[in-house]
């Protein structure tokens, strides 16, 4: 299984033609400079993990596939309501908040906080992080 996963990762890297290290650096930077983010992951719209911080690999992979299903359903719902595509998806319970933000047509940023009072902060921080990753992928800035 691991062998197949490695092969897929190599393939994915060539498909996207971007440096995963830059994304990892951006996630780590965002986490270091914003206490509010406990974990973060960049996933593809079809459920693959690109990079994550502070998540066990198996958990991160599950979050990748579940996150993509949720964003896809959210898109279907907003389109049904003639609202276009879904930009952010927020899950909240008594133990924390999960935010999913579309980075571009292929990637989604997922962040999580255990601070239940930090909704505005995590949404704002996640948007900045998504903007930075988008800029890196578009080669408009250097990380």
């Amino acid at each position: 299984m691991l062998k197949g996963d490695n092969a897929l990762n190599i393939l994915r890297k060539s498909i996207f033609n971007f440096d995963k290290r830059k994304i990892k650096t951006t996630l780590l930077y965002a986490k270091k400079n914003n206490d509010v983010i406990d974990t973060a992951a960049v996933i593809t719209v079809d459920g693959y993990l690109i990079e994550s911080t502070d998540l066990m690999l198996q958990t991160a992979k599950k979050i990748a596939s579940m996150g993509c299903s949720m964003v896809s359903l959210a898109n279907t719902m907003t389109q049904e309501l003639a609202m276009g595509n879904c930009r952010n998806l927020i899950l909240e319970n008594e133990q924390g908040i999960v935010v999913m933000i579309q980075i571009n047509e292929q990637l989604i940023l997922t962040t999580m906080t255990r601070d239940t009072y930090a909704l505005g902060l995590i949404v704002g921080t996640s948007r900045l992080c998504a903007d930075t990753i988008r800029a890196i992928l578009n080669n408009t800035i250097r990380s």
């Binding site: 393939l11 498909i15 079809d46 459920g47 992979k61 596939s65 896809s72 359903l73 279907t76």
Partner: protein
């Protein structure tokens, strides 16, 4: 009256979305995205959460039709969607490398649902639907060997009649069970 629910499942590219699209009387709710892996060489879109359609089977009875994603990384959706389902329609593509292994895998995963309700099976992507006997033999043999007494048909999921036969055979199985 609550809608009854059946679930179309099976490996990626076996025609689940196509089956729901073909038979549904309402616009199908879809959650398809452009694949980022090698699948994009074969398919332009892939389901990530579910397909949903409806079919009226009686004057007052609506059948809710759910299609699952095919990839095993979405297996959690299989369990969510198949909960309380009336039955499972398992599609397997004859074009896959090991379709019998696919059958075994999905039968094993849906064992509880199949035992507690019932199932019907469709083989898709046959070379000829006019004379499918030769290609179907290995599937009939597999069913005989395992003593499965479920309906098994060659299916072109783009043909409304084919999908209807699958659904009707599933409903017949339920009547036999009653």
């Amino acid at each position: 009256m609550n809608p009854l629910k059946i679930v179309f499942t099976g490996p990626v590219g076996s025609g689940k979305t196509s089956a729901v699209e073909t038979i549904s009387e309402v616009p199908v709710v879809q959650t398809e995205v452009v694949p980022t892996d090698t699948l994009k060489n074969n398919k332009s879109l892939t389901t990530t959460a579910m397909d949903y359609g409806e079919l009226t089977i009686d004057t007052n009875q609506t059948l809710a039709l759910y299609g699952t994603p095919g990839q095993t990384r979405f297996a959690y959706m299989w369990d969510i969607l198949s909960k309380d389902a009336l039955g499972i329609i398992l599609l397997v593509s004859n074009k896959r490398r090991k379709p019998i292994d696919d059958l075994c895998f999905y039968i094993n995963h849906f064992k509880y649902q199949i035992e507690s309700s019932t199932a019907a099976f469709g083989v898709t992507h046959l070379d000829s639907f006019e004379n499918p006997q030769y290609e179907m033999e290995k599937y009939y043999a597999f069913f005989d060997k395992n003593r499965y007494s479920f309906p098994l048909f060659p299916v072109d999921t783009r043909q409304r009649y084919h999908v209807k036969v699958l659904i009707e055979s599933l409903l017949s199985m339920l009547e036999i069970g009653d």
